[in-house]
Assembly symmetry: C2
Homo-oligomer: 274 residues x 2
């Protein structure tokens, strides 16, 4: 239930404000060093090679020193030797939306993927929105039905980038009616903490293993550690899941949560981080 | 958190099977006396005067002794003196879907509404689907945003028929992404138990104050009695709600719940009812 070694994650529920105050993108920019930041936008999740360009423009407008866009489209590209130290001079790496399976299918185990992990471990801020948010955790939701009764086969899970342990992240959470698929994920292993992030909302996860909510929506935390009964193993694929004594926290801006100890941090609580 | 005096309620999340096994409608038919049942279908929720006809045909096909349809469309009609003992010989009363505000706006305090309460108190089975389900409780959800971040102004509540106390019912629950509005309702007064019923799913509420789930989907119970923190009073209308330590139960077919004592009843648990 902890972050692996490394810096700070900014995990965004998709559809973040890009034209107004840009609270979330500005927070990432600021954490990555503000005007001294050297950023890389990774649009591997998207088949559109220009998917990263809007973020590049936004971060340059904010005053970033350097913003590169990397639109790696396949494993051959991801395995180029030149990528070995590609992120070493980056203070922030931003994953766009698209399909999380493209992120892991293309980067997983590649030279570029290894470079990403090293950059993260040595302190680069890693952010991801939508598919880029889902890919952060060790086990990720690849897909699932929206607005659906929780059944065990409404979701598909797969190994993610592994930057966050013990957590399954879902995005566009309220807007696409995804409580059912997050409950289904937690039912598979109640040890896992489910974190559902609304659109234009993000969690900033710190080294200590706690996060704070920013943005306009809510973050729903599904904690299964007190689950007293589940029918997940014996239920048929077309049967509804049963899951009792799930603890749910609805968190708004400035609320926080300690992932390891599993408690809510009220607004104004002193960060335990450096 | 108890039922008022009276018989049994069948509260249906909408879109119940009408062409296959008809599990839910058959359960209502059976509870109301099967082939000896004398039923009344109330389509007041709908502006379509023929909204009750399909239910009439279904219950007649099942073998009901008598099925009447009453499509009262306004208060003048509802206040006809002939309605004073209208339901006295009915063993079951079925509310169709439509708009729950039509049910309470037209029946509330009328002669027909009074007759309904007397029939219920003297043992008639009362069922309602969709809008007819929402109208059952003392305070009902009149409307609200689907697939939305919980904020206090995304919902509207009003006094319902008052057949069930201490509970707010929502319907089409998973299918329309309504966890946000049910959490918002519970945030207003965590004493209230939120009960979200999926489509083709129902709860059968017994005199003892416990219910059992029937049908193909799930029932989500939101129990706020352990809520440790809420921002409902100080949050602005456009702010997301925060609500911590909500207890959530996901219940499938044959699971039950005791409304008064607030505990889950496993499948096979002996009914405490007659």
């Amino acid at each position: 239930m902890t972050k692996k070694d490394g810096g700070t994650l900014v995990i965004i529920g998709g559809a973040e404000d890009k034209t107004g105050e840009c609270e979330i993108l500005r927070e990432f920019f600021s954490l990555a060093g503000g005007r001294k930041s050297r950023l890389n936008v990774l649009s591997t999740a998207s088949e559109d090679p220009e998917a990263g360009d809007q973020y590049r423009r936004i971060f340059l407008d904010m005053g970033a020193e350097e913003v590169r866009v990397l639109a790696v489209q396949n494993r051959k590209e991801a395995n180029q030797a030149q990528f070995f130290r590609f992120f070493d001079d980056n203070s922030g790496i931003f994953f766009t939306g698209g399909d999380q399976l493209r992120i892991t299918g293309i980067l997983g185990g590649s030279i570029l993927g290894t470079a990403l992990h090293r950059a993260y471990v040595t302190g680069a801020i890693v952010a991801g929105t939508s598919a880029g948010a889902s890919a952060m955790s060790e086990t990720m939701l690849v897909g699932g039905l929206d607005d659906a009764t929780p059944k065990k086969e409404i979701i598909r899970m797969a190994p993610g980038l592994g930057l966050l342990n013990g957590v399954v992240v879902d995005q566009h959470f309220a807007q696409r009616g995804r409580i059912g698929r997050l409950l289904a994920a937690v039912a598979h292993n109640p040890y896992i903490l489910g974190v559902g992030i609304d659109e234009d909302t993000a969690i900033v996860v710190r080294e200590s293993g706690s996060f704070k909510v920013i943005g306009s929506g809510a973050v729903t935390v599904i904690d299964g550690k007190q689950v007293s009964h589940s029918n997940v193993s014996e239920s048929d694929s077309d049967q509804s899941l049963a899951l009792t004594d799930v603890c749910l926290h609805l968190l708004a801006r400035d609320y926080g949560f300690h992932l390891k100890e599993r408690y809510v941090m009220m607004p104004g609580t002193k960060e335990e981080n450096k």
